[in-house]
Point group: C2
Chain length 207, copies 2
Amino acid sequence: MSISEKHRLPRHIGFIPDGNRRWALEQGLEKQEGYGHGIQPGLALIETCKALGIEEVSVYGFTQDNTRRPAIQKESFSKACVEFALEVAQRGAALLVVGDDKSEQFPHALKPYKFRRGAGIKVNLLVNYGWQWDLNGLKNGTLRSQDVSRIDLVVRWGGGRRLSGFLPVQCVYADIFVVEAYWPDFDESHLDEALTWFERQDRTFGG
Amino acid sequence: MSISEKHRLPRHIGFIPDGNRRWALEQGLEKQEGYGHGIQPGLALIETCKALGIEEVSVYGFTQDNTRRPAIQKESFSKACVEFALEVAQRGAALLVVGDDKSEQFPHALKPYKFRRGAGIKVNLLVNYGWQWDLNGLKNGTLRSQDVSRIDLVVRWGGGRRLSGFLPVQCVYADIFVVEAYWPDFDESHLDEALTWFERQDRTFGG
């Protein structure tokens, strides 16, 4: 069955592109060199989602926790997120960047996207995001990620079977599919497997 | 390796005992007859956790969403939760029942446990729990489940790869282990497999 012949597609997919550093080490590169190799796979993934007619995707860029890593890594993943986001916007998408933009860790180039801009598939990129930062918004009435809708399916690369603080409220009912491959080794077949699996899941939404 | 020889045990395990109704149907019983068959496995699980020296466990009893099911099912899972909880308390545990106790869906017999009572392993039983009810506490400063600590490992029976609203904040960094067997078919080997798997996971806590 071709990827476009699925009957029941998720409306909103969350992506956790993990394993960039482990991939780099396996290639004989330095850890921080992995991130740049995640950009083209990310763009390919968005194009596939567009072609399938997926309405909304959320992508885990980097977190406030991640910014405690060595500076050379931090610069590298931040740069990769900026390059990815600007190219996504350029190719046509309704882009929203979600994260603490009051911190110097938030890339200046992404500030125009703290409110959704553009038309097309909704792409939410988490940058300098923190689950506590997000939930603290509730103290003033609403999540800070309130413009991100409920997620149906989470696909995580790199073998980890956990959410790692990824949009905890939007993911309450999400089905979680884990790909063992590291993110820079993304292949369209991973998404195909995730969607085939998702079709078979019984969606109860807690009922 | 015996279950007691693990080096790195989780401090706090969350249990999602799913599949009672599917188990009942497979046995030629009616759906609601499954819940009663989950009590003895639950007691056995708690005894194993005590023997291992696990400090805290959280068990998904039923949710506010679940109470919209047919009355015959609702009575059955509510009764099973009460019987389980009172026996856990009787055998010795620091029991806390977490859920909306202002509703008539909250069993009267469990009201004494809305504050933690007793000594021994901490057992948190979610009864008439709702993730929104829980998070709404933040609007007044703290989660309603504030006495439940961070969860290291979630074990879910019945094949579902999702959290289904189970303590979303405590589970942000939890590793999730899925057992295909239905809950009433609980066997100690399931916990053994989960703990063996957990030992191999790289705990980063988002860093």
